[in-house]
């Protein structure tokens, strides 16, 4: 391993990927990255998945990272190849998804001259990466690659970018992969201060109405078992954000589901009435808090995160806890048990209150004869998945369908719900599903999508078909940009401006067939079960076009800027499901 080998910079990139344990990379070749693709042709153990658009490659790398817990890798050429990656990089930044993006750059001698396909991609991405490198000396390449993976996966995870000049890829040098990184300024916390743990434990034991507010950081930290240990040992109720879904089983009785704009009334009320909010790997996003001054007004806050900058950013934390969640949560669970030994906290009345609210305010929607409701399709998918004897991973786009998936899907496994939370990237679902399938070929991977979202990245059906990464895309086709339509109906006097897409164009089943995939069209509730079963067992990528009610709105809803307790509920009359 430590033997020096004479090789080209392009080969060194692949040897670095191999050293880092990368088994799949996603990308598209082009002029400035040609030498690296030539190195791929010369041989590597890294499987390259050829996408149809660099944004797709980026989301595939994200889906791969989210499903596997490993660093995702995306490769693109300079100029437009690199700018097409920007949306995926921004998405990974907002959701703390570990990503190494490798872009080709024009030759060193041309940098700064506005050469063909030259953009300053390190400059363009500066606000949305943890760090980036422009490599103009081949001798630096091994250290940069080592550092890139280290930075992407340590501390709060996220994207990094390595921009490699074409002549660097072509240069010959003596390659040796470094054992250590040399980053004097990169010192993410590796332990939690015991005093912070003690203070947090005491607050938990003293609280009457505590609530855990768990987010995606728990999944990133691989701390789900430790969270569960805390929940179970101290009998602590929890709400779990969209990004955290799956970090505590949805079917766990102490999991009160998702809070926020389209979360349940009981989860929002739980936070509002709590006297202690224990934020774990969550960041008080505005889609969760609503009006911040009215969020959990009577609560003391413990904020536990790997990123010190999140603590106190939005909401003051009386008890800040900074460090890695996995060891910190285990210590906290042990400390709570120790402190509580001489009189376990009794949250009985509080838990009964939460259960009452849960019973009183379930997610619900009105069924109507002859109208296929999108929620019904999500429930049918949930039931179909429950009947399978293997894992199912769900991905989504962004909008109403995403919120219904959050509300109705039951996810009991970590990393089984993959979605674009922070950036809200329409088109994320299909490529993320393909990436997840590459990471977990044993699982059935299903993208619950909207018709607006699907049309943003549907060319990746070709990738799924030809790379033999079969996924199921279920398009909740209401013929509209549904969430925008909902806002126009509710807040813009029903002026439906530029949101009508139509049910019929394109014909999604025909589109699927054109890409060598199986296509199904569902026009009524009684066709749902068979179409889903056929898609799940198609043995190839399948698209299910579920033509559903264009007027259905997503409830409950906390209007933007309103207090999270002021939930607008579904106006349910008649039949209640």
């Amino acid at each position: 391993m430590t033997l020096k080998n004479r090789m080209l910079g392009s080969d060194a990139i692949l040897r670095a990927l191999e050293h880092e344990g990368v088994d799949v990379a996603f990308g598209i070749p082009g002029g400035a990255i040609l030498p690296t693709y030539d190195a791929i042709a010369r041989g590597t153990s890294v499987r390259h998945v050829l996408a149809r658009h660099e944004q797709g490659a980026g989301h595939m790398a994200e889906g791969y990272a989210r499903a596997s817990g490993k660093v995702g890798v995306a490769i693109a050429t300079s100029g437009p190849g690199a700018t097409n990656l920007v949306t995926a990089i921004a998405d990974a930044w907002m959701d703390s998804t570990p990503l190494v993006c490798i872009t080709g750059q024009v030759k060193s001698s041309l940098i700064g001259t506005d050469a063909f396909q030259e953009v300053d991609i390190t400059g363009i991405t500066m606000p949305i990466v943890k760090h980036s490198w422009l490599v103009q000396d081949v001798e630096e390449l091994p250290h940069v690659m080592k550092a890139a993976f280290h930075v992407a996966r340590t501390g709060r995870q996220g994207p990094v970018l390595v921009d490699v000049a074409k002549d660097v890829q072509e240069a010959e040098f003596l390659f040796e992969y470094p054992k250590d990184v040399d980053l004097p300024g990169w010192k993410p916390p590796t332990k939690v201060h015991p005093r912070q743990i003690r203070e947090a434990a005491r607050a938990i034991v003293e609280a009457e109405r505590p609530i855990i507010y768990a987010g995606g950081g728990v999944l990133n930290a691989d701390a789900c078992a430790e969270l569960r240990q805390l929940v179970d040992s101290a009998r602590l109720p929890a709400v779990v954000t969209l990004m955290g879904k799956g970090c505590l089983p949805d079917s766990h009785p102490l999991n009160y589901g998702a809070p926020g704009m389209h979360g349940s009334k009981y989860a929002n009320w739980a936070l509002n009435k709590a006297d202690l909010v224990i934020a774990v790997g969550s960041r008080f996003d505005d889609r969760v808090t609503g009006k911040v001054s009215a969020f959990a007004p009577g609560a003391k806050v413990i904020h536990f995160d790997i990123d010190a900058a999140e603590v106190g950013k939005i909401r003051h934390a009386e008890i800040p806890v900074v460090g890695p969640l996995k060891i910190g949560l285990a210590q906290l669970a042990a400390e709570v048990s120790a402190v509580a030994a001489d009189g376990a906290p009794d949250h009985g009345p509080w838990l009964r209150q939460l259960d009452d609210w849960r019973e009183q305010f379930p997610f619900r929607y009105a069924k109507a004869d002859g109208v296929l409701k999108p929620q019904t399709a999500v429930e049918a998918l949930r039931d179909a998945a429950a009947a399978l004897d293997h894992d199912v991973i769900w991905t989504t786009g962004v909008g109403q369908h995403q919120m219904w998936a959050m509300q109705y899907m039951v996810c009991d496994q970590p990393r089984s719900f993959i979605t674009s939370g922070g950036l809200g990237t329409m088109g994320y679902g299909l490529p993320a599903a393909i990436g997840a399938k590459a990471a977990r070929p044993d699982a059935t991977v299903v993208c619950i999508d909207g018709d607006g979202c699907f049309q943003m990245t549907c060319q990746e059906l070709a990738t799924a078909a030809l790379e033999r990464l079969p996924v199921v895309a279920v398009v909740l086709n209401n013929g509209w940009l549904g969430m925008v339509r909902q806002w126009q109906e509710m807040f813009y006097a029903e002026r439906f401006s530029q949101t009508h897409l139509t049910h019929a164009v394109p014909d999604y089943a025909q589109l699927a067939e054109a890409y060598g995939c199986a296509g199904f069209t569902v026009e009524s509730e009684d066709q749902l079960e068979d179409a889903i079963a056929a898609a799940f067992s198609a043995g190839r990528t399948a698209v299910v076009d579920v033509r559903c009610d264009p007027e259905e709105k997503c409830f409950p809803m906390v209007p933007a800027g309103a207090a999270a307790v002021d939930v607008i509920e579904a106006p349910v009359e008649g039949v209640v499901a």
């Binding site: 500066m126 606000p127 760090h131 422009l134 300024g185 950013k313």
Partner: protein, 164 residues
Amino acid sequence: MSTHTISVRLENKPGALARVSQLFSRRGYNIESLAVGPTEDSDVSRLTLRVDCSEHSLEQIEKQMHKLVNVLRVTELPADEAVERELALVTVSVPPDKRADLVALSQVAGASVADIARDAITFEIVGRPEQLEAFEELVRPYGVRELVRTGRIGLRRPSRNERT
């Protein structure tokens, strides 16, 4: 809101300064002045930043800067615990008959002559920022033709270095 001086030890790497200034604009913090230059270690630069912000924002700025890979250390320099200096160059219009008066005045104020022409003098003055401001006021009646300030630089007083 109040004005704070932040001292940053930064790896001397391409783009490092851009990353810091980008962070300020991105998060909506206003930089009053920024001075950057080499230190005792050739691999390290030191930035001295003046920002007008709340205590809460200051805490956020420090934490966000700490996350930058090239940033080695971030410290606030409280006014009473730091030595702070700034350099200004001021070109003042002056007719030959008033030249002697102006030069004498400037010497009292701690400035020195850097260049002299038929109808103008360029002064240099190094001092605490308020000294520079006082000098500017002093020569303003003569007509300030051009003025440039470096922005302040600062170091914690060694006698206070135990506290960080």
